[in-house]
């Protein structure tokens, strides 16, 4: 029982996501951080307020981290389909060597 809970906690902390999710997380992080930086500079320059620029930059970065770092469910929509453990009754693939079928 305790082991199960520990495993769950470890899974959440590790936050593993699938390959498509990794691609998506990287894209979200890079685009969002760039956009936040651009908005921070433009707002700061137009309103001539450097404190506001810093606040927008740090706030936007915190939000981006919140979206990009935890293993949200939408990062696990394309899980890898592993073969079953132990092989099971798998049809043997036809091996072809020198254009001849190899019988096993």
């Amino acid at each position: 029982m305790a082991e199960q809970i520990l495993d769950q906690i470890r899974d959440v902390a590790e936050g593993q996501i699938d390959f498509e999710g990794q691609k998506l997380a990287e894209l979200i992080a890079n685009v969002a951080l760039s956009v936040v930086g651009a908005i921070a500079f433009l707002v700061g320059y137009l309103l001539q307020d450097i404190k506001l620029a810093v606040l927008i930059g740090l706030g936007g970065t915190a939000l981006t981290f919140l979206v990009a770092i935890p293993a949200w469910p939408f990062y696990n929509r394309n899980p890898v389909k592993w073969l079953p453990v132990g092989g099971g009754p798998q049809p043997l693939p036809n091996l072809v060597v020198n254009e001849k079928s190899v019988q096993r």
Binding site: G15, Q16, A29, F41, Q48, I50, A53, T61
Partner: protein, 228 residues
Amino acid sequence: MYSSIVRAQNSFGFFTTVVFVVASLIAVSDLLTPRAPAVGTLKTTNVQVVRGRPHYYSSKKEEYAVIKFSLDADLSSLFTWNTKQVFVYVTAEWPATPAVTGTPSNTTLNQAVIWDTIITAPSADHLANIGPAALKKLQKSAAGKSIDPSRGKLSIKNQRPKYQITHPSGKIAETDNVVLKLHYNVQPWVGLLTWNQDVDIGLWKQLKGGLSKKFSLPAIKKKADAKV
């Protein structure tokens, strides 16, 4: 990007890149803001030379010039969103005379600061080195403003110098061709320090005025004279 730690590291790494780029843009944006500082008046109001000691236990006596002055200057265009503070200082300058002992032969001009002040931008008021009451007053003076160009308008009458100046030789009385010069140093939040310039650089105009008329330092006030 497969685990939380790797995603945190990657995201933070790119965040530092974004910070660097935005900071560079902020620094460059200074060049787009015109600067046209000008000095209305800079003149001496009272010049004295007295004898004194460099410190309390010194047996050496030196001559010190006490130069009171009046200043009217408009440095408001130096205040942009990236200005943290402006350091303003007045120097007395006079040509070196090689005959005077203690003057290094490669020195052609003597310069000594007689007065300075720090003007903070509202974004840096909390850094000002003043008491709590004065700080409250300072912050109130620019409440709701991110920049306050009126801070750059200086109007000072008959100001006592902060520093009484002397010369390495200890002799400064009866010096001729002394001028007062106003300098400033803009300290930005990010970017390069810039000083007053003698030529126009892009939108940054040179400091207009900023030099007083030439004057001479008087002879030492003698105690005997005062008694007579």
